[in-house]
Symmetry: C2
Amino acid sequence: MPGPRSVEHLKQCFARLPGIGPKTAERLSYFLLRADQALAFELADAIRTARASTLVCSVCFNLDEVDPCSICADPRRDHAMVLVVEDPRDVAAFDATGYRGLYHVLQGRVSAIEGIAPEDLTAAQLFARARSGTVREVCLATNPDLEGEATARMLAERLAEQPGLVVSRLARGIPAGSNITQVSQSILADAVEGRRVLRGDA
Amino acid sequence: MPGPRSVEHLKQCFARLPGIGPKTAERLSYFLLRADQALAFELADAIRTARASTLVCSVCFNLDEVDPCSICADPRRDHAMVLVVEDPRDVAAFDATGYRGLYHVLQGRVSAIEGIAPEDLTAAQLFARARSGTVREVCLATNPDLEGEATARMLAERLAEQPGLVVSRLARGIPAGSNITQVSQSILADAVEGRRVLRGDA
């Protein structure tokens, strides 16, 4: 007997989550069976509540409990600046740095391997925002990897058609707190190429 | 803003599970927000149902939806044979091999580091079962590691007081399907020491 039926079903549900294999699904299931019942029920309710109360913002495609999201609706933010990110998690990461412009969540990146085209992303809505006249600068903050770079290049080309719009890309260089002898060659090459003049004319 | 409040709460709930760090908790949470709502709700219900319907068997301490569990209540099983395991997951593992005796789930192992004494386990209930007269053999199937071995030794000492009871331990040796050049020295030493005579007298 492979364990009570309700436990087998719970294992199957956990195993559908990304990065959760059958062994982890089993470990999580048995943990919840022996844990405080209140803890297990709180997780169940948190899943229901989060899933039921979360909306996708119709302006920037960030996740929030209101639409437009609390960022797009905040008049104290700079509505002329839009940071384009791949994922809603990136919004939280940039916002923690003190950035106070708006965002545009692409909901992914262009990927030939996974068959993700610009039409599968929210690129058309980004172009519409860029044309609206309120946006002064679009900063492309896709990941500094092959697919993120390809996505940024593709977006930059289309955004260049908009007269007067500033299109920028995140700086690349040595990461704060790193050790120069330990970072990769391509990071150092980026850092030299993107060097900033501190004094005098380059 | 660190994401909607309901999402933050979901992340906190996931992060309480063993082996789930803050990044994994975030990944799981955002997956559930974008996944099919039915999938998210099914997980929430599966947690509730499994937690609410699972009992600990009062005889062997296995988890099931009935008490005594379906194994202890099965008359076709050998009720004179008891396999002692650390965890309910081990019951499922041994049962998949075709073993048809009973079990006794210790709910852990003796550990000096974690401060787990025999009184924290179901050892007293095992001794009572051994004294009941229906048990012919107790096979100690704790893990073949330091703490599992110490637990087995401790249980074997106490079980030896019961006249006529056979106390056994799982065989140690080379694991089926392994490669001799790749297994550790201690596995090979176990395999030589526990070698079985195929022909002739050793």
